[in-house]
Every structure is written in C-alpha cells, then in structure tokens.
C-alpha cells in the first residue's frame, strides 16, 4: 500500500467519504510533477520539443484509459479528455441530444442519477426534449423490464450510472447495454464512481458513451474523460468551441499534468496490488456493517451485495439526521448524501427513490472505505458511531445547534 501522509493532518478525523473525493495517491503526484516543471509544453504546440513531449504524454495516457475500459486498442481517439465527470455527462447528454435531434427527442434515465446527469436532462426538457426518469427497486437496482417498456421509436439515449454515488449500487450494465443495442438506442453510463473499482468493458457491455473522473480514484480533481464509441460511430455535438482539440469535440488547452495523473491513477487501480486492496476494503466495509447492524433500527440502503467494495449507506431509526452528522463531525468525515455545490441538507433524492421516508432518508450515513483506511480506524469508527447512536437515542446528546454548519 502506498505511503500516504494525508490522514495525518487531521489525525483525529478519520476520512470515510471517498464518494465525495479521495486523497491523491503519492504515486500519482510523482507522475504529475514533471509535467508542471520541465515538461510544461502545450500539447497543441506542434513546432517544438516542449509541445511534442506534452503531446506524447497525453497520447500515452489516452492509451492507458482506452485499455482500462476495453475500448478499441487501435483507436484511442475514442477518449475525449474533459475537466471531470460533470463536463463529460453534460457533453454526452447535450451532445447526443443535439446530434440526434432529427432522429428523436426522447431520453431515458434513472431517478437515482447524479445531479450532473439530472440537471442536463432538465435543461434538455426546457428545450423541448422529453425525459423519462425511471424509478428503481427498493434495493436501488433498475428493473430492466421497465427500461424495455420505456424505450420508444423516438428514444435516442439511455443514461444509467454504473455505480451510484450515494449507495454504491451497481446497475446491470451488460444487460442494459444489450437491450439498448437490440433496440437501436445509444447507451451512456456515468462511471465516475465505478472506474477502477469494478470491471468496465465497453465492448462486452455494449456501452456507447461513458463518463469518467479521476478524483474518486486517488487522482487529481478537475480532469475526467468521455468515452465515445467510434465503431459504429457515435455522433456528438461539441459543447465547448475553440481550438478544435480532442477532434473538435472538446476545445481548450489540455492539462497535461492532470491527464498524466489521471492515467497513473487508473493504472494503479488496475494493478494486482490495488485490486487486492479492494477485497480488503470490502472486508472492512462488511466489518463496519456487521458491527452497526446489531444496534437495531439500522437500515442498509441499497442492494446487500451488488455494491462497490467500499460503499455502505445506512439509515438510522430514532435519531435526528442533522444531530447525528453534527455529533460525528469531529471524529469521522462522512456525509449524508452527495457533496454538491449548494450545501443543501434536504434528504437525498436517491434514498427517497428507494422508498425511504423523509425522516429515515435524512438520518443516513454514507461511508466509503478507501485505499488508505486501516482496520484500526474502522474499529474506532465503530466505537464512536455506536456510542453516538445510543446516546442520541437516549436523548443524552443534545447539540445546541441542530443544523450542521454550512460551509
């Protein structure tokens, strides 16, 4: 396991919020640094060594990503680098809607998608597109029959996330892909949480577009990618216009150091060492659940096994959600839902879609056991949470301020 000093800064605070973001792996940083210093060229500069070096690094990174998701090895131009998964999702949804405007104006997605899918959908609705937001089953999984029924002749795109950012549930990508292929509809998946943690294969799973981001995978924030199938070729309308980088699909000077860091993070995640690490994270996650469940009145959110290895999301009966978070604040970095820009504290739309009532949805904790967590940390968290929940249920813990601080 890589040596990581990150957790020392807040030694008392244990980080279990890897769905929001992950620490940068020191090995990723080492890969990035040369591209900030000596090899700083603009990869579009075609007339000198500085530019060529940057271009070569980008090319190699593209190949790494391409290999990692089973894209065609001879055409790494299927990888479009972006500033993250938000941009990749926006590009996929709006870019497809615009390019296939003549074919149809209907899209299908899930109620449990990330806001970076739901918001572009709402934008498209305002432009006159129709979007079906499919419900999920109580375990968070899509019922494939519902999808089969929802596809219409004018449907152009189905967008279903690979792994949910709040409950970690893994959708049956292969089945969805096969159905979409059979019905002649394009299939996009937001794999921001999934890359490096579950096998992704765009060929076997018939995926036409896939959004990725580096910062959930011990890589840097601010870089991601959109996979866009070439054969058969998926049309896409660019959303950022300019110098024509990324085959015209995404203009803007490429951030070489970021791209190199992204590829290194993916490479590390796929290494045998880190794949074994995932099994360890799963064990720790299960240890956490086994210790919390006996407290009683604790509900597991999402499918019991079809989840990301480190993910655990629970709703706690008989406690106030805000009080729970507030009382854990100084000990464990967890969240009750997805981190988003507004700092809002409304109950999670994902948990509501699973059928949880508002009180339970509000009293939820989202954990992600990650690469740098230790068994000792998990045991400490188990103690702290158990004590806190018991105290809150007895009414012993009465924080003066009920709302968590909004940053």
């Amino acid at each position: 396991m890589a040596n990581n000093t990150a957790n020392n800064t807040h030694s008392q605070l244990i980080y279990l919020d890897g769905h929001a973001t992950t620490p940068l792996d020191a090995r990723v940083l080492n890969a990035m640094l040369p591209y900030l210093t000596e090899q700083f060229g603009n990869s579009s500069s075609q007339s000198h060594r500085y530019g060529w070096e940057a271009a070569a690094a980008v090319k190699q990174a593209r190949q790494v990503l391409s290999n990692a998701i089973g894209a065609s090895s001879d055409d790494p131009s299927e990888i479009i680098f972006t500033s993250g998964a938000t941009e990749a999702n926006n590009l996929a949804l709006k870019g497809i809607a615009e390019a296939y405007f003549q074919k149809g104006r209907h899209l299908i997605t899930l109620q449990t998608e990330h806001s970076a899918v739901l918001e572009p959908c709402r934008y498209l609705e305002r432009l006159g597109f129709e979007v079906t937001y499919l419900p999920v089953q109580p375990d968070g999984l899509l019922d494939i029959h519902l999808l089969a029924e929802a596809i219409r002749p004018e449907t152009v795109l189905v967008s279903v996330m690979a792994a949910n950012s709040e409950i970690g549930v893994l959708q049956p990508l292969g089945e969805i892909g096969a159905l979409c292929r059979e019905r002649g509809v394009l299939f996009h998946t937001d794999a921001a949480q999934a890359i490096g943690k579950i096998p992704l294969d765009v060929q076997a799973m018939s995926i036409d577009l896939m959004s990725l981001t580096a910062h959930k995978l011990y890589g840097p924030k601010g870089v991601g990618a959109l996979y866009v199938r070439r054969r058969p070729r998926v049309q896409l309308a660019a959303q950022l216009h300019g110098g024509g980088q990324e085959q015209g699909l995404r203009s803007g000077t490429l951030a070489t150091h970021q791209i190199v860091g992204f590829a290194r993070a993916v490479e590390l995640a796929d290494s045998p060492e880190e794949q074994e690490g995932l099994a360890h994270q799963r064990q720790l996650r299960d240890r956490l659940w086994s210790a919390l469940a006996p407290l009683g009145g604790i509900h597991l959110n999402g499918h019991p096994t079809q989840r990301l290895p480190g993910s655990l999301n629970v709703s706690v009966e008989g406690v106030d959600g805000a009080a729970l978070l507030l009382s854990l604040r100084s000990q464990v970095a967890v969240s009750s839902g997805s981190a988003c820009g507004s700092g809002k504290t409304a109950p999670s739309h994902v948990l509501l879609a699973l059928g949880r009532d508002r009180a339970l949805a509000a009293a939820s904790l989202r954990f992600c056991v990650g690469r740098f967590n230790t068994e000792a940390e998990i045991d400490q968290v188990i103690d702290q949470i158990s004590v806190t929940i018991r105290a809150l249920r007895l009414g012993d813990f009465k924080p003066r301020e009920i709302k968590p601080k909004q940053d």
Binding site: L24, T37, F40, Q46, T86, G341, D407
Partner: protein, 387 residues
C-alpha cells in the same frame, strides 16, 4: 542548449504555484462541497484563491467564476449571455479573435444570431468608430480580444467598452494573453465579462476564470452540483485553483517591473532584427503585449514561381537549433493554412502563411535573445539557399 520562446502558447508553472498545488494535493484534498472538516478547509482554500485572482484585476471576490481554462471562460461568456435571451440577438466580435470566440460565435450564428466581425487595420487594431457604426439596438454583447495572441496587438479596450455599454450592450474581453502582463483594473474599465487562463501566467494548465460583473445575468453551460454560485457545476479542482491564485499573487507583485524587463528583451530582439530584410514586424509596434514579437517572413529576392517559405518551415528549422518558437497561435490544425488574423490585417494568402511568433518570459535572458537572433539569421540563410 534549449531555449523556450513560446510563452504565449503556455508558460511553465512557477515554483510558488507548484508549492501551493502540492500543499493542497498532499494535505488539503477534500471536496469543497463536503460539509465536514476536510470539505470546509478546501472550500476556504478555493475562496482564498478567488480573492487572489480577483485582486489581480481589482475585482470583487465574488465576481470570479472558476472554469477549466480560457476556452471555457470564452464559451461561458458568449453562450452564457446568449442563453439569457429567448430569441437570437446581435453579437459583435473582431476579425482577430481567438478561435474560442470565433467558433462559439459561429455556433451562435447557426442558432440564428446575427454576428458582425469588426475589421482591423494593418497593425491589427480596431478603430472605435467601426464599433460605433456596427452597434444596433439589438446588440446584446460585444466581445473584443484584449491582447492578440498571434500578433500581440493591444486593443483600445476602454474606448470600445464605453461605446458598447453606452449602446446598452454588454462588453466581454478575452484577456487570456493580457492578464498578468499588462495592468488591468475592471473597477475602472468598462468591462462586464473578462476571460483569464492560469497557464498563460505561470499557473497550471486546465484552470481559468471568468470575471462576471456583479449583478449581471448569465446562464451556466454545465448543470450538476451547482458549484460556483450555480454558474459552473463540477467539483472544483482545488489544487489548480490554489496554483492559479498563487500565480496571480506573484503576477500582481511583479506587474511594475517584470513587464518592463520583458519589453527590454523583446525590443533587443526587434532592434537586432531591424536590419534583417526578410523578417517584417507584424502587429502594432506601440500598442503591443510586452512579451510579444511577431514577424512575417518575406523572402524578397526569390523568383516569383518558387514556393513560398511558410512560417512553420522556419519554426521547424529553429527547433533543430534548440529554440522553441511558433508559427501563429498553438492550435490544433495540422495543416498549414493562411492565418485568419494576418488575412484580416490585409496580408496576401502566401504571406498569411509566413507568420512567426517569438514570445519571451520569466526565464528568458539577453543571451537567449542574442543567440536566437543568430540562429534565425542562419536558419533563414539556409532556407533561402535551399530554394
């Protein structure tokens, strides 16, 4: 020996920026939207950098929206203003804009917008009178490049901005090449929107900002978590933003002495090349970015049917000598085409392929300049002989 003289294409990250980034990457990597301690530390770091970037152009802190770079800032300015209207309006740009403006304007044109391109003179300058004549009652936005990337010409931004605003239009300027190289005060200048990019001022690639005058209505390009006051969703790249902030602090601290040093170096180059009959200065000799020299390669005594030597040929020759310069702006087209900028300035198609750009920066020394002049003369002699 290697000499980098392409500081308009990108600049190396300065140590202060790298230090700021490294600190965030190793110690402050929380998601700024997270409500816990890791998150609030990151959020605080983002706000610190927002203040630092704002200071550089004397803007209120909350007017800075972080983006993925100059290209996105330009797109956000144009598309973001356009999306506040229900029906297409009129947009004015110049004939010497960066492709991030011209391509976005072309996209708006396809959506029904009327787009006017203001002409420039032989030095690449816009006469404010042409803007005055072009303004219409439905002109929603005027977007003019502050300092031109290929020929270095500075525009009369103050006069242009006043005219636009008096006519009720918003005024945007792509100041990607100018920020950090010329003092810019949006508190004083008639500017509503201004694009910046960190990697042109010794910050990292992949981060930029758009100044949005407080109170101005703008629509986002990307939907999602609602970061950046809803104007730019996506997890903020805290490290790059911190690097941008650190670079901005340094640029502001140096604004009184570094640009004059660059002017000296640049003028040393111009002086030594003045006697070179084949390199003619392009752009405006007076209204010019301090670090910027650009030329048109004019081989006078060649037979008229010999193929013209393109700027790119000379640039490649210079690379063999270990000197990195460019032929126009770094963009992605593989083909040699007449530069739209030089064409707009009245150069013939042949000459519009013969531009070269030499841009100096932090690491450039007098010795670099002298050696570059020698290498240029040798390269030109070689190419002339080969004809």
């Amino acid at each position: 020996m290697q000499i980098y003289l392409d500081y308009s294409a990108t600049t190396p990250c300065r140590p202060e920026a790298i230090a700021a980034m490294q600190e965030v990457l190793t110690q402050g990597w929380g998601n700024p939207s997270s409500l816990h301690e890791w998150g609030s530390r990151s959020a605080y770091r983002v706000e610190q950098a927002r203040w630092e970037v704002a200071q550089l152009i004397n803007a209120p802190t909350e007017s800075i929206v972080f983006t993925s770079g100059g290209t996105e800032s330009n797109n956000l300015a144009l598309q973001g203003v356009a999306r506040t209207f229900t029906a297409p309006q009129h947009l004015i740009i110049s004939a010497v804009e960066h492709s991030a403006i011209t391509k976005t304007a072309a996209m708006l044109e396809r959506q029904g917008w009327q787009v006017t391109q203001l002409p420039v003179d032989g030095a690449g300058r816009i006469d404010p009178k042409t803007l005055e004549a072009a303004l219409q009652s439905n002109t929603a936005l005027v977007s003019i490049i502050y300092g031109q990337s290929e020929v270095g010409t500075l525009q009369p931004i103050e006069a242009l901005g006043h005219l636009a605003q008096q006519a009720g239009a918003l005024f945007h300027t792509d100041a990607v090449q100018a920020v950090g190289r010329v003092p810019i005060d949006v508190g004083r200048l008639p500017i509503d929107l201004l694009s910046m990019s960190a990697h042109k001022l010794y910050g990292p690639q992949g981060v930029g900002a758009l100044y949005v005058k407080p109170g101005l209505a703008l629509r986002p390009l990307m939907g999602g978590g609602g970061q950046e006051q809803g104007l730019r969703s996506g997890t903020q790249p805290v490290a790059m933003i911190a690097g941008f902030g650190a670079a901005a602090v340094c640029a502001l601290a140096e604004i009184d002495h570094e640009p004059p040093r660059l002017v000296k170096l640049r003028d040393r180059l111009l002086d030594q090349l003045q006697s070179c009959p084949t390199l003619k200065l392009t752009g405006d000799p007076h209204h010019r970015l301090p670090h910027h020299a650009s030329f048109c390669l004019q081989l006078s005594n060649i037979s008229s049917n010999a193929p013209p030597i393109s700027g790119r040929t000379l640039v490649k020759q210079m690379n063999l000598a270990g000197i990195g310069i460019s032929a126009g702006s770094a963009c992605n087209s593989g083909k040699i085409q007449p530069s739209p900028t030089l064409t707009a300035m009245g150069y013939t198609p042949h000459l519009a392929q013969a531009g070269i750009r030499i841009t100096v920066g932090q690491q450039t020394t007098e010795a670099d300049i002298d050696w570059t002049v020698t290498a240029l003369q040798q390269a030109i002699a070689l190419l002339t002989d080969a004809q």
